[in-house]
Symmetry: C2
Subunit: 356 residues, 2 copies
């Protein structure tokens, strides 16, 4: 079976052999307080910094999921007022999390499949934190980073948090222009699930420290202060998912060898294949009507006859895709386009899709 699901998804090709290597080398038994772990932490964060061009002053933290990323951002980067751009289920979750954490979030919401009218967005004066889901896994809508940077430029004192869970490492973020970026590894990095990564600016750290000074709880073992104190020693506060950190390092090393630009070009090439297939088939239609809003990495496609028979047909041919998210389950299919997916497989998948 080839997994074109939006995450967990197809494993990055070297993962199985690297897992076997990890077993041989005893990686699964090493102590998270041993020097060998510190070296792994340092190497992984250094390589990630190189791959994604993360400035030295930014901190890289390991969490357990993208979802945890949302919680830690809300806890550490806002006392009360967060502002959420909601265009799908995951952006909504981010907003609801702020409510659950007893903040006072505001939101603007657009119809699923649509994006925002950026000229019309006005950030309320007291806003501390803006939360944006750059790539909505539920709708397949991607936001142009330039719009986010422009909004930040207009509101320079407001912190910006960006969810790139299902677009990284394709998406080329300028980390100097935002304050928190987070993702999980079971999507674009093609790894087993159970690890999240959070990259934060010095301003984000300062905000967290200032909240603590004001007596606001920023969490406990995963407060930015606790995470940073440990990360500065190449450690984590708790026993982390050591295997996933090891595998992430291996995958990044492989990506560095090939060059991130090659992956980014290939992603666009493969996206084109799916797009052409959809455009040529009257029974298929992108949920995102506006071509400019469509994600390259997460293709959410309305299927005229319903998604079920289409998913079944693809599965019979050994290609697994997702149904639509939540209430759109039976209306849409969702196809991932990650570095682990080969051009050849994408061509075959598009071929099968064109027969419905």
């Amino acid at each position: 079976m080839k997994y074109f699901t939006v995450g967990p998804s197809e494993l990055y090709p070297i993962v199985p052999s690297k897992i076997k290597q990890a077993l041989k080398d005893g990686v699964l038994s090493i102590s998270h307080r041993a020097r060998i772990f510190d070296e792994l932490f340092e190497s992984t964060t250094n390589n990630l910094r190189t791959l994604l061009s993360v400035p030295k002053k930014h901190s890289i933290f390991f969490l357990s999921s993208g979802t945890e990323g949302m919680e830690r951002i809300i806890q550490n980067m806002t006392k009360q007022k967060s502002f959420h751009l909601v265009n799908g289920a995951f952006a909504k979750k981010f907003y609801q999390m702020a409510l659950q954490l007893k903040k006072e979030p505001l939101k603007i919401e657009v119809e699923y499949g649509a994006s925002f009218d950026w000229k019309e967005i006005s950030i309320p004066r007291s806003t501390e934190l803006v939360c944006v889901t750059q790539n909505e896994t539920s709708t397949g809508v991607a936001i142009d980073l330039k719009q986010i940077y422009m909004l930040k430029r207009k509101n320079p004192k407001v912190l910006f948090a960006v969810d790139v869970v299902s677009s990284i490492p394709y998406v080329d973020v300028d980390y100097t222009k935002v304050d928190a970026v987070f993702f999980s590894v079971q999507k674009g990095f093609g790894l087993p699930s159970g690890l999240g990564v959070l990259i934060v600016s010095p301003a984000a750290i300062n905000k967290s420290l200032s909240l603590e000074k004001q007596g606001v709880s920023t969490g406990s073992y995963h407060s930015f202060a606790s995470l940073k104190e440990c990360a500065d020693k190449f450690e984590t506060p708790e026993t982390p998912n050591v295997l996933d950190i090891y595998l992430l390092n291996k995958v990044i090393q492989d990506m560095l060898k090939k060059g991130i630009d090659v992956f980014r070009e290939e992603t666009e090439l493969k996206a084109k294949l799916i797009e052409t297939c959809v455009e040529n088939n009257p029974k298929l239609e992108y949920l995102a009507k506006n071509k400019k809003h469509r994600s390259q990495t997460t293709h959410v496609i309305l299927v005229q006859e319903g998604s079920e028979s289409c998913i079944r047909m693809l599965q019979k041919n050994k290609y697994l895709v997702n149904g639509g998210y939540g209430s759109m389950k039976n209306d849409c299919i969702r196809i991932a386009n990650f570095p682990a997916h080969s051009i050849e497989d994408l061509k075959k998948l598009a071929g099968f899709l064109s027969t419905i």
Copy 2:
């Protein structure tokens, strides 16, 4: 190398082959919203229930670490007043976490290596939650569960949370007598790190729901309400560490075949081997002076000449143990005694240890 470290530790023998099986079967790519995952969740929690005799009314939640267990218990089981029995670094961490989460914890503290005078313990009247570290990984002191049950009987309206991180599955908890029990899988279950388990009573769930009603934040995606809503559907709120849940199920199935009592007897037999070795060597001495307080699964031993040369000698012979925890690093060694450790290897380790 044989890992007698206190966690991460030696892998349970079937783990390497089951990881390879998982790779073959595509377990690392399955969606956490697919039926196949729900079946895995249901099977794993059912088997864990059988192995540990967890009542049907208790909920089993998957977290990412034992440390997360502490945070979620504090958030969901106390509005303000927790009471902590502190006899080591991990019990202290539990207490400090309550402070960080802006509760008003109280504690009684004994010297590291000692245990409590149970007759003297009086729980303050307003206490909502008592936190006990049943097996202190930093000191090798274990608490007799009967003392905990007795304290609960004297304070029936107070909730009790018990850390069994490094004693499970040896420790035989009566889950009807406490309200929260938590552990991680990289110790007694011999698995890769990155998964925590939290078992809670209906009273614990009710407390969390009542806090929510009072407007107290119980966290977000890992509030008991959110965890329970998902667990009732055999799901997790976030994408979890699917591989570890799969492996936990395999290890539990293997333990069920052999019988948990056999493991418990073997643990005591192996503990006796280390104890005899220490008693016969004047250069070695348990940190816990009182024999009754010594952990069967975590042996913390003072080394007269300092721990460093002892650790090096054992390592040369392919046996890895830990140094002492924190400031005791150079004074002690710590030896784990988990189901993954064979009697034969423990005999060899004791043999080498007796030569110092």
